[in-house]
Amino acid sequence: MDWRRFSFIGFIIVFLFTVVVLIGGSRVSPTIIISSMLTTTIAVATPLTLGALSGVFCERAGVVNIGIEGMMLAAAFFGWLTAIYMNTVFKFDPNLSLWTGVLAAILTGGLFALLHAWLSITFKVDQIIGGTVINILAVGITGFLNRQMFFGEGSIFGGNVPHAPGLLPSLSKWLAPLCGGPEGCLGLPGLIQGTFLDQKPVALAAIALVLVSHYVLFNTRWGLRTRAVGEHPKAADTVGINVYRIRYVNVIIGGMLAGLGGAYFTIESVPSFEPLMTNGRGFISLAAMIFGNWTPFGAWAAALVFGASQALQINLQFFRDAIPPQWAFLQHAYIVGLAPYVLTMLILTGIIGKTIPPAADGQPYEK
């Protein structure tokens, strides 16, 4: 592992939290600030983490995927649509509808990834172009269907956006029988409870998937083959590894991860869909993947930096009037919002060790 990179990232996150505690500590207790910032950080980092993992799987197998944004957007729409259909048309129980929606989102991500794999592996299209096609296609399809189904003349739901069946509950609600009242769950300290137990299933799954991805990529035969195909496909081919198959499967796994990230938007965070609602988070995921040097843990840490800077930006506004005059520039939300991008650029310049992409990243394999 790359300890320099991780300690740098850890330092940044601790620094961001310290700034808020120093400024807001006089108004709200530091424990509450830290717990609340951690909760926001983890929740907000969820789609970024999943998007970055998606990128790691694709690129480790040698396929550049800039279509993560589009995969997430399409998954957010079709997952939401499925949940509504299951609930209003097929009269499923709300929770079951939501879980079906999550499944549909994952499948949507997988299908879009299949398209990307087909274009870039079978047809050997320039992979940047393939990803762009996915992004444009997702914006068009979701915008078009959203309008046709909910707003157009004679639309299926007659102009009324139907009642979404709610949102996935947080873990603490699942554990409610164990927790016995609002005081505490299993006697865990408040910080852990607020940070982890109040998270929802997709956010927790994202963390679990970081561990799983790391294990798969670095401790299994499949992972070794994936990396071999991404570094030197010719060599892999000569020892009998089916390069195309490995690439196809990894791109589809990546798409399914991005699809789960899409489910976060419409099934876990808010129960509604907006055109373009992923708002560039798929691209930020790619930055997180590079920031994390194409490793699951690195990508996760980088996603947390982006999450922490959003938490910082929200919290600094709460405590705006407590900001000391010599730090007045912190009152400008957009300056704080710039922080992660500046960090990404710093990292790309190589000050904390080089970022090294897989050697065959972006190159179609010709037998």
Partner: protein, 351 residues
Amino acid sequence: MKKLYAVLVALLVAAMLLPACAPAQTGPECAKPEVFCVGVVTDVGKIDDKSFNQSAWEGVKLAEKELGAKVQYIETTDAKDYDKNIATFADEGYDVIVTVGFALGEATVAAAKKYPNTKFIGVDQFQAEVTPGVAGLIFPEDQAGFLVGALAAQMTKTGKIGGVFGTDVVPPVWRFGEGYCAGAKYINPNIELFIVYHSDVGFDKTFTDPEWGSATAKSMIEKGADIIFGGGGKTGNGAVIGAVEAGALAIGVDTDQYYTLPEAQKGLLSSAMKLITPGVFDLIKAAKEGKFPDGNYVGKAAYAPYHDLDSQVPAEVKAKMEEINKALLDGTLKTNVTPAKTEDGKGFCTP
């Protein structure tokens, strides 16, 4: 390679498919001077959206009943069709055309220059300069914010209330936010306010980020806030939904959001409303009587009914709210909110 290009072209075409525009509905013989015709061009969405479009249409229906106007509407399905839909009414000789929403502002002014004999009412369209034949129906957002701020300050149990807004660079958003703080401080000068604007992103994203709104509202609730005002399009809606989901009370914006956000009904305390229906009606009446005001016309603000939470609002709070509303309307109470963001960003929220 040929096959590949075919695939790519097919995909691109599929991505750019757009729905056909709404069919024009032919009105009665509006070109005749004795027939008074009023047409409504909606913003993208349905006429019965329980929001701006519907409120404007109700004002026009009132004009049908009270003034004997012939009325008709066109539902816009694509922002590209604004000009065309306005022109459909103008070409048929409609006397008054109501265009609903900030987004139709440019198309409305352009149409007014092209059709000097038609009067245009632009709902929520601030007129930076006067165009003959256009009245921008604007609203005192500071008063609407003041009302719900005062309500929140009376209803909070923790003494902490929050507000999640779009960017403060847009003057109406600034007025909502400042009005909210001013109203809260009018009731309790020591109230703790958590105010966050989504100013860290561009105009294209600031009003369409419900995920951010929800995360921000929850962060406020974790710090003890128990009432959240969501003001800023879909971003604000996200805050309202997130707050209700987290067990806090929420306040909506623009119209009575009890009807537009069914998922938040159980925790929606009120909404900071712009009274579009009477404003539209008054302007149509003025047009009929030949007293049409060019430039800006300031309508009225209000707070929405408490709906499901009616039994939880104490009688003295209800009385106080009516008193404040009356004082704001007759001008004895002023919000003292600046019309747009101050140079240093200071005001009621950031003293």
